[in-house]
Symmetry: D2
Subunit: 325 residues, 4 copies
């Protein structure tokens, strides 16, 4: 909503929430006082039929039960949850612990990473907005895989995320006193974003496999992925290969050789900022990839997808630089 209210071609028509129905949006989000006058309304089967687009920022398994009727009514859909991200249904069902309600739509859905699928997104009725970790990891690896520079089975993604990725909810584990001044890994044995990353990367190289370790950081926004992979052949050109690969991308920024991007440099901005290092002795690449998990890792990317789907300027509503300090 923060980004949509300043978008030149968007009008917010309704915002639904069962638990908040009747309350003003600006009560829950006081930063939107004077910007959004809507109240939350009850979601109902046909309540979005006069909209052009519905964003699902809902728990997993919500969108899959409603997408079909929306699409039939001519409403396009971007799902920010995971219902349409994984093509292989048994894999999805295993990791999400549910039976998929509409496998046919999974096949139709486009994985909404513009740097990979821009053309398909333009024509899509249904876009699966990528996960926050997958966006960060995949963008860091695309130039390496596209140029066959790495052993595809050697990837380790050590990822550090701010706590806003967990959503706004009451839980002891999200409490300030639990999170601040501490770091921990979680889900070392397996996180739902692992099969998503793997499946997407395997479209580039069937041999891709990876270890993925998420960590919780004492900060609100930001993901920092540190990605290791064994080099295959010559690494001399890697800096210019990265620069070339992303030269025309409005939202991927390749830093100069030797750089160390900071997550705060993309705070609030729809940017993924990359640095690629080659370790000569170890013959390994280390890619550093930062994004704001709520923007390029979620809502900003969803707007970028919307811009493509509706023929708007791809950068509309997304031009503001990150907020430092």
């Amino acid at each position: 909503m923060r980004l949509l209210v300043r978008h030149p071609s968007v009008t917010l028509e309704k915002i639904t929430s069962r638990s908040e129905a009747g309350n003003a949006v600006a009560e829950l989000f006081p930063n939107l006082r004077g910007q959004v006058d809507l109240c939350f309304s009850e979601p109902s089967a046909d309540s979005y039929h006069d909209c052009d687009l519905v964003f699902f920022a809902t728990p997993n398994t919500t969108a899959m039960s409603q997408a079909e009727s929306l699409l039939e009514a001519g409403v396009r859909v971007i799902d920010l949850a995971a219902d349409f991200r994984i093509k292989h249904i048994p894999t999805w069902e295993k990791w999400y612990g549910a039976t998929h309600a509409c496998p046919a739509l999974v096949e139709e859905a486009v994985y909404g990473l513009p740097e990979l699928n821009r053309e398909q997104i333009r024509g899509a009725r249904l876009v699966a907005n990528p996960g926050c970790y997958p966006t960060s990891v995949i963008l860091g690896l695309l130039p390496l895989l596209a140029n066959q520079l790495i052993e595809p089975g050697s990837i380790i993604a050590d990822c550090k995320s701010g706590t806003s990725g967990a959503g706004r909810k009451a839980s002891v584990g999200s409490a300030f006193c639990e999170v601040t001044e501490s770091v921990k890994a979680y889900a070392v044995q397996g996180h739902r974003h692992l099969p998503e990353i793997r499946e997407v990367l395997q479209t580039l190289d069937a041999g891709v496999d990876l270890v993925f370790t998420p960590h919780l950081m004492p900060m609100i926004r930001g993901i920092h992925s540190t990605i290791y992979a064994d080099a295959r052949g010559d690494a001399d050109q890697v800096q210019s290969l990265f620069e070339d690969y992303y030269r025309d991308e409005p939202f991927v920024d390749v830093m100069p050789a030797g750089s160390h991007p900071e997550t705060r440099s993309v705070r609030g901005a729809n940017i993924c900022r990359l640095a690629v290092h080659y370790l000569d002795a170890a013959k390994k690449f280390v890619v550093l990839s930062v994004e704001d998990n709520l923007v390029k890792g979620a809502a900003g990317q969803a707007i970028q997808n919307m811009n493509l789907m509706f023929g708007f300027d791809e950068t509309a509503g997304l031009e503001a630089p990150g907020m430092m300090p």
Copy 2:
């Protein structure tokens, strides 16, 4: 710069810095990569003569030595430091420990608080941008003083500020390990913003005096002023008086009765958000006033002043809501 790059009527022509001359702006502020291509240049006497406006975001006593020649060259000036904020020269000289270089310009300068001096700002050549604490405290008191609702000598302003107010510099006291997870008061015996607040408020009521206690908070941005004053007469209408007083102000938001504004609701936004409480038993008002010290408390207000001076829409470049979370 973060705000100016998105302003529809502004072009950044030069940015000067002795210590950073020759370096790219985006090196120091990586959030501006791809947004600002300038390098810092050496400041020099006539280097700004082709500009329409110069912002001084410099240490105190810098602007006063350069303003005269700029104004003579037809360049308008907004000083974000304190050189032109206090009209009474001996007071300024006492608190800033220097002889004032151009008292005549102090007389001409307009104190750039649009809610108080909008019409004078429109015509001004030289604007003294208010201090961060003064903006927050004065806006919290204007409706009370304008309506003679308080004993003017009874004011206590207990103010809490993030650490970005101290600027970007190397000092032990600003280090993360010194600041985080701690709160302290400072300058209890007297802070330079005290005479500034007092002088401005005395233009409304000559009897104004106040105690002002600044505190350092473990956060980047935000000022929360808690302002106490003894009520004079009837307090029944205070909520509607506040709402009426600020009804047409684009950047002051009076919250509903009983509210407690949070600094994060104005993070990055040019908003001062107010709540007024009346304590019946104590016959005191408690005004809660929050702002982002770097925006409504500094750069955003400077742009608001620029908009007025140049006849732009007052809200141009300043419409974005605060960033939550």
Copy 3:
């Protein structure tokens, strides 16, 4: 528990919790791995009868229903909640929204502020451990009231607290993303610690009244109280009066004139650190009072009370300095 495990004269016998019964204490508090081998057990009527002392660190209204039977069984009690803090039953019932279960014990209970009630605590069967804000405010005012240096009706206590005061629970308002990088006031119209502070201070001067405004800070531990009061008569000796008043107190530290104590200087320590300022022009005192709300404001003070009740060295288990940084 962190403090008790190192106490030379204490053995932890049981720790009860309905929701955690059966779980190891060290699972919930991994810092205690290897230090506490107990599991949480179900609370039951007679389960503590073989203990010498029971600490209630429970929600309000729990201790008042169990204290009587414990005392009858010869078990002494320290309540860290509010059930026995306020002597005036109708006041307690109004602020806590409940009928008091044992008014007679309220009369017997000793308010456990050793600096005020050391001798009564020594003999007490039942101690009401003070609230975190009251400890900080009362200790800041005792020397002024004892020496009749202030107008007792002029007190304003502007208090800033870390978030650990809210306890360890699942709530949206306590979430990291809600709390960090923000400051807000709360309960401006009235907080339960107000009647507690007022009643205790009125035992020193019947005319005491105060305004009390709590604020939430983005940090775990620490309370910083900034206390304003109008001076009555001569203020020249205030520094030495403070030093004399607290000369023999092991846990109150009066800083040199002109100081600004930081909450981090008492992190983890059972210390209240004070600085007193006199503002000549305003004829007001400003007292700065810092403590760790979980130690001198809660558990540490409870152990100090235990030490007095059982004839241990008053400082036993409480000697460790604060942790900086």
Copy 4:
């Protein structure tokens, strides 16, 4: 000093500092008010000759110029800097950019990791206290290397550290506004702790090599090392091998299988807490290792070494649990 003041067998005799000479220690460290009465004194050649032990908590290259005369005077030395950590002098000189002043003492010095060199430490005159990252990484790998469970050239140590590791100094990069709410990698191309880790581990297996990537976290204390290595042979027993390996170690805590240690669980404590995971599909171990970089990663370990050198109980002064929250 925080730990030494509570140590039963230690008296602080002098604390030297050129820049702070004459100032009270408690002025710089207000948490030590009432605990340490010393003033800083000028360091001088013979000023420590009546001490039994000198700790050097100085910049690199300081200790190496003074150690010889101290040892000759019968004073034992623990260097918390890096002068005696690396046996191979050319490696040290390359990474530290200086000519070593006393190579002979390097040979004599014992690397002060008790879990590796306990017996040599007992008799040592000169102990090189390990670096913070090396302690965390080496302790995480010892059981794997000792049992030949990993390919020694496959190690990746992705390490996350709080900012206190940088010391207390004035620098823009350490400022609160630069560090908080952000994560970044640094020294990806090579950090001084890399040769230290490598050399120590090669004493266990000559084939050891590793990639080491340090990251800066927005917190004061704590290191979280996430260590990856390819398994060699069967991994079934790894949990019990870890438990057996560290069974008698007072300051290494192996968590139950499947755990994710948090840095806050060791805040202020001399503990390294480990969890070992085996990823079946990838045939990799992931070891999670947390410590307080200022305690087990520096001062606490130095005291542990002192205890061994002087025949005190190894845990003396180090028994306090971590501070949570």
